[in-house]
Symmetry: C2
Subunit: 201 residues, 2 copies
Amino acid sequence: MQVTSEILERAIEQLTKLPGTGRKSAQRIAMHLLKQSDDYVFKLAQALIDLKESVDHCSICHNISDQNPCSICSSVKRHTGIICVVEDPKDVYTIEKTGEFNGRYHVLGGTISPLDNIGPDDIRIKELMDRVHDEEEEVNEIILALNPDSEGEATSYYINKLLKHHEIDVTRIAYGIPMGTELEYIDEATLSRAFSSRNSF
Amino acid sequence: MQVTSEILERAIEQLTKLPGTGRKSAQRIAMHLLKQSDDYVFKLAQALIDLKESVDHCSICHNISDQNPCSICSSVKRHTGIICVVEDPKDVYTIEKTGEFNGRYHVLGGTISPLDNIGPDDIRIKELMDRVHDEEEEVNEIILALNPDSEGEATSYYINKLLKHHEIDVTRIAYGIPMGTELEYIDEATLSRAFSSRNSF
């Protein structure tokens, strides 16, 4: 096989390392970029460089942020007493989109997963407890919003146990039937959970 | 909604413009890049910039190339008399991978498509005819390797008509049953084509 452009080849090779991008997709992206304006490609490249060079973390909630503390932790409009515990920065984004939550966050940076050798000390549980003990934060509610998989469950149980002897409400977002679906298509685990978590109407 | 990182937001926005990349994928890519080494991200950004700044086209076959003429057109190991006509540079790559073809290429840069207002003058058919008339190239066979859709067919017919009164073999790659499949799963159009193109055994 004869490759006519080493530069193209190199771009494809780098793109192939992106998540969810195989050789074909990488090739399609490279071909697409070749047809785009210089301006767009330079902007994209610069945005990626900025991402690595300028993005920081908030020292309070550990979310990705341009400033420290982040705009949520430093906002006077947000309740300081309620902390929503999430696994990942992208969960903050997802929850913020609903506009339903007006407290602060705590990004664990993972979940307890013995199979992957991730214990409680490998994620930011200690930092969460520090915030609970911090009198300035006056934490009175911890909302657990972890993914409903076994690692998320285990982490939720662990945090709940740690907080047992504190005067803090530990709540969890409701797991059940998603809106707009039909019962027929719901898996058994979700349906069982929906039954055991039923509310008075 | 409160965005904690404008830089992240900007990177996601730029990534969303890539083909086949929605908001969720762009977000996943950005989060992935945040976790990667500086080295990789800078290499990726540089590869994209190089792609725009340094990649050129071969003035003979119009394929993407770092040099002009490209390594295929300037190779003494390739037959000069046979030209394989393809729609797109990525088709060259696909055919080169097979190692089956040892001639040169001609990249049309599209196919005739009246619905999209693309006529014969909008793709490199004139350039192909110039090559046919060029005595140095001594073209004796044109292999049409366009996609088996209506635009590809129309373009093949058009080129074949143009070459009718030249002493050149015009051939077309075989369309039929792909290897390794079962007849049962083949669509009717392909099967009809496989019948009408049957060979003696």
